[in-house]
């Protein structure tokens, strides 16, 4: 009997209907709304916007719901939608100095101009399950600060810069590249590396960053400053010729201070690593800053020996949409190639036993 898979079309349709039903779950439980996801699963939405490379909370919420909470699948949905969008230009660079800060900490100084602002953070919570949530209790309202915060907070690294203790920010000139419009080639400049890291998988970057702390390309980092808050996005329409504010977004910025570099010409200075993400994504921004610094080992004249310093390795494997596609494509039929291997293996074994030999390894 011929048992090869037939009727792929019907099978696919039926599988999609079953998937939709599984996604919905028990129909006696009310369906989630996009507002619930966007308002209450905010950090999941932030991650999907970051790695999906598209700032749209509502679309990200839809993607999370459609993906049954699988964030890499949601990121994939957002990427596939994003790629079809018309592109009408690039915004002006964000001025994070003028951020409306919600949270801002420095691990390098005890106090800083503008103050340390703890803001909404898990950092000092005790990780005990909160059964009042399960009971459906509303939390008490948050306290309001007695005075408003400055909207012009100097960066901690600027304080070091005024003494010449840290290298100048990157002075690369010209338009930044865009790896969604041009294929990435190596060696890649820092603009493209940072873009790649901003879109990169949080888990992958976290592990790479962790590896640098454990000695695989150590950079001796200090969290110079992490700030989270709203920044204005400005855009210059061609017909106007001057920049207009088109909205405000929440971003997380991390500036790492790393161990020095000096030469006969330049006195020793701290070096920089930089991370910037949509939303409140501190783990991602910090990992990005550590990996950014590691990837600068070439330009800083350090020996490149660790995975996090190897730009081909890092940039080629950071994208989780690419990674998940290629790993999971092993589910597709490979029986033609497998058949080719079977034919060869059987013949080699037959030849081997014909010679009176045995191929123990192949048994």
């Amino acid at each position: 009997m011929y048992v090869a898979v037939k009727g792929g079309e019907q099978a696919i349709d039926a599988a999609h209907r079953l998937l939709a039903e599984e996604r919905r779950g028990d129909r006696s439980v009310p369906s989630l709304t996009l507002a619930q996801i966007a308002e209450q699963l905010t950090l999941a939405v932030d991650r999907v916007m970051n790695e999906g490379s598209l700032h749209d909370r509502e679309l990200a919420a839809l993607a999370i719901q459609q993906a049954r909470g699988d964030l890499i699948e949601a990121i994939f949905l957002i990427r596939a939608a994003r790629t079809t969008l018309p592109r009408f230009g690039y915004s002006e660079p964000l001025e994070t100095r003028r951020m409306r800060v919600k949270r801002r900490v420095s691990a390098a100084f005890k106090d800083i101009p503008g103050g340390q602002i703890l803001g909404p953070t898990f950092d000092y919570t005790h990780r005990l399950l909160d059964f009042s949530l399960a009971a459906g209790l509303e939390p008490p309202e948050a306290a309001v600060a007695p005075t408003g915060l400055s909207t012009d907070m100097p960066r901690v690294l600027e304080l070091l810069d005024s003494e010449g203790l840290i290298e100048k920010p990157s002075q690369e000139q010209g338009e930044p590249g865009d790896l969604t419009q041009d294929p990435l080639s190596f060696p890649a400049d820092r603009d493209l590396r940072l873009q790649n890291l901003a879109r990169g998988d949080e888990g992958f970057l976290l592990s790479l960053a962790y590896s640098t702390q454990r000695g695989y390309g150590r950079t001796h980092p200090f969290a110079g400053e992490i700030r989270v808050g709203m920044v204005e996005v400005s855009f210059t329409p061609e017909e106007l010729g001057f920049a207009i504010v088109i909205g405000e977004i929440t971003v997380t910025e991390c500036e790492m201070i790393n161990q020095f570099k000096g030469s006969a010409m330049v006195k020793p200075q701290f070096t920089r690593g930089y991370g910037l993400c949509f939303g409140q994504s501190e783990r991602k921004a910090m990992s990005m800053a550590l990996v950014d610094r590691s990837l600068r080992s070439g330009e800083l004249g350090e020996e490149r020996i660790a995975p996090a310093q190897d730009e081909e390795f890092v940039l080629s494997h950071s994208d989780n949409v690419q990674a998940t596609g290629f790993v999971e494509h092993l589910k597709l039929p490979h029986y033609v190639d497998f058949q080719s291997e079977l034919v060869m293996l059987r013949r080699m074994r037959a030849e081997a036993s014909g010679d009176g030999q045995t191929l123990k390894a192949a048994e």
Binding site: I12, P86, V321, L332, Y335, M344
Partner: protein
């Protein structure tokens, strides 16, 4: 939030122009891997996004499309890609090789000889034939530029030393127009002879790796080998159990749990044609 409206064959015209430029360059330099700004597609990387982008860029409303995976039109991924183009481009489709103007394939070249008015589009996972010998793109690009293919011959020689023959059975490297060594995608080496002097245009798209390459019609494609170990293809001891063909690539089908097997054509259209006496 607006539901987006999609262009003919999904990609916007700007993207298609970019891909067509890459295709033209690929045709001008046979076997050379042209980098292109591959887009995210609504199917996963590794599932044919390169082939789909190439097909979308060369497709016209008058085309008749055939999609195969493992030689068969009804494998799930072939069905999925065919449905994608029916939905986004509304083009006619066919399962008959001779009726198709564009054939997108994964892992096979049809048994029915192709003609000058056809385009064969291959889905490519890893376009770089040297990748498993040298993981760095910066190095392999240099090796291609210098035509430095010694490592590939060493690899094939090591196979002979270890196994008594070249142990590569699919994605078998070949040289295009006496210049570039290329990866014909994971087709069985059985199909390599069909690449040579083919009247149809052969396009290769690797979406995740962002590369396009091409074999223009009637281009010389020579599978790598040695004088004393000439290139040869797989052979089966029995004919296809359904159509009796002795010339086609056969899939092995396990038909019970006692290890009984039957062998049938992997090219389902060719097999049906033999049976119908078409």
């Amino acid at each position: 939030m607006n539901a987006p409206a999609y262009n003919f064959a999904y990609l916007n015209e700007q993207t298609k122009r970019m891909i067509r430029r890459a295709i033209l360059k690929a045709i001008a330099v046979p076997g050379y891997q042209v980098p292109f700004a591959s887009r995210e597609m609504p199917m996963p990387y590794g599932w044919g996004t390169g082939g789909v982008q190439v097909t979308a860029s060369v497709l016209t409303p008058d085309d008749r499309l055939k999609v195969i995976d493992q030689g068969a039109d009804d494998t799930t991924n072939a069905v999925s890609i065919r449905k994608f183009f029916v939905k986004t481009a509304g083009v006619a489709t066919t399962e008959r090789t001779e009726e198709a103007t564009i054939i997108q394939t994964r892992h096979r070249i049809p048994e029915t000889p192709l003609t000058a008015d056809q385009i064969l589009v291959f889905q490519v996972p890893i376009p770089e034939p040297l990748r498993f010998l040298e993981p760095r793109e910066t190095e392999t690009r240099k090796m291609h530029a210098l035509e430095e293919y010694g490592v590939m011959h060493v690899k094939l020689y090591e196979d002979i030393a270890q196994f008594g023959e070249i142990a590569t059975t699919y994605a078998y490297p070949a040289k295009v127009a006496d210049r570039y060594v290329f990866d014909p995608s994971p087709i069985p080496k059985f199909d390599n002879p069909k690449l040579d002097d083919c009247p149809a245009l052969q396009l290769f798209g690797a979406g995740r790796e962002k590369r396009i390459y091409a074999i223009p019609p009637h281009t010389k494609v020579k599978s790598l080998d040695f004088e004393d170990h000439p290139f040869e293809v797989q052979r089966w001891n029995e004919p296809c159990a359904l159509c009796g063909s002795r010339t086609s690539f056969l899939d092995e089908i396990v038909i019970d749990d006692k290890g009984a097997r039957m062998f049938v054509c992997s090219d389902t259209d060719f097999c049906a044609k033999q049976r119908d006496g078409r």
